[in-house]
Amino acid sequence: MTTSAIIDISTGQLLLALVFILTAQLSSFVFRLGLHRDIAVGTLRTFAQLFLMGYVLTYILHSDSFWLVVGVFAVMVTSAVFIVKGRVNEKQVPYLLPTFITMLLSYFTTAVFVSALIIGSAPWWEPRYFIPAGGMVIGNSMSALAISIERFFRELRQQRETVEMKLCLGADYREASADIFRGAVKAGMIPSINAMMGVGLVFIPGMMSGQILAGADPQVAIRYQIVVMLMLVGSTAVSSVAVMLLIRRRCFGSGEEPLLSPE
């Protein structure tokens, strides 16, 4: 078998893929899942955002402007923070600013490390490597962060009496919330660790499939994929721990009393 040019997908063929959405909508309708609106909006957003991204990427990947690349990266992180906000829905504790700063710094460091040191691109911000690496880090760690933060707030409310009991026995706020902190960080990290267990056996990652479909040597695609898997675990761990450390203090008052009202 020889490698041939990649087969194009026509507009009609693309629309044919909507059959999958129709089956999802049918399930939602039959079983009253109440997801029809989310599925419809999600589908429209997938089309709109990816086509837009395609045009933007074509421009950015051929750009030699450092500020444009960094600006796009900042926009991606900002969008991720708002998606986290949508999933967490917490009003008593101001957690968005520390989350944004931590995400920006940790994801930027990870993306620079991968593009400059591991891939060895020159300059280190070469958009062809820096933007996709950043995108994967942001997308993956954003989900982990949303899981961790949401769980931390929920558990802190549910276990308020236990936290207070520990405080009354001489614990500081870190000791009183240590179990909840660990549980929340672990909950965010487990999907990335599970992904390492199943990769190549249970599923073929999208990035690797995309590279192979686009005609890349599978051996090269595999090396890139390994870097991506390791990068995602590392960035998830660092960003989750850093964000949780910063927002945990905000959940306690000046007397280290829990601020979140019980549910």
Binding site: C168, L169, G170, A171, D172, S254, E257
Partner: protein, 223 residues
């Protein structure tokens, strides 16, 4: 007798409430006293205890422990001297021994030496918990037993002042009598200062006992 606790002009409003729960409340507790605090539900009795140990923050006023404003004390130091025992006892997953020794795992108690098993067994006897066994899972104890464990666990830190928030409200009469008996022993024999919120008719005798009532946002001494 010297004042161990001074409360002056304390006003407190629950978050989101339009009216204060109480206004300019003052109270002086002397060493060795047993103060009973009564009043209707929602009058602010429990809130007052929580303010003393900084589990809540007042709108205005000052609380002093041995002359030092509690707001200037490190929270962990304050709470190991002024110990609050909640209405519903809380245990962590683990044995009775692990629960009793829980406070000694915290950095602020690092200088205290944890009691050995023999001492714990003796103290369990004093708290009507003899024969239960230190290896028993704490979660499997009855609420009455857990309340006595919670009290004992707090006393292992040797606090000066005990804040007891309706310690018998969740207990059957037999368990409640045991807790009252422990409280009286702590106050009379060991000289501990107690500030107890209660709904019951419990009223120990002695010159060191004082009954206060909190109602309509004010506190008054009862005959």
């Amino acid at each position: 007798m010297a004042a161990i606790l001074e409360i002056r002009d304390l006003t407190f409003t629950h978050e989101g409430a339009s009216e204060p729960l109480f206004r300019e409340l003052s109270l002086s507790v002397e060493e060795g006293q047993h103060i009973l605090l009564k009043g209707p539900s929602g009058s602010g009795k429990s809130s007052l205890l929580r303010l003393i140990c900084r589990l809540a923050a007042p709108d205005s006023g000052i609380i002093r422990y041995r002359g030092t404003p509690v707001s200037e004390m490190p929270p962990a130091t304050l709470r190991s001297r002024v110990a609050y025992v909640a209405q519903i006892p809380r245990m962590v997953d683990g044995t009775l021994e692990e629960n009793l020794l829980l406070p000694f795992a915290f950095a602020s108690n690092a200088r205290r030496s944890a009691p050995d098993r023999a001492l714990l067994e003796r103290m369990l006897d004093e708290f009507y918990l003899g024969g239960i066994g230190l290896d028993r899972p704490a979660m499997k104890l009855s609420t009455g037993q857990q309340q006595r464990v919670a009290l004992l666990r707090t006393l292992l830190l040797e606090p000066d002042l005990l804040l007891l928030d309706e310690p018998t409200s969740a207990l059957d009469p037999e368990s409640a009598a045991m807790v009252f008996s422990i409280m009286e022993r702590l106050n009379r024999e060991k000289g501990k200062t107690l500030l107890t919120v209660t709904h019951s008719d419990y009223r120990p005798e002695g010159p060191q006992v004082a009954l206060y009532r909190i109602e309509n946002r004010t506190l008054s001494l009862q005959p």
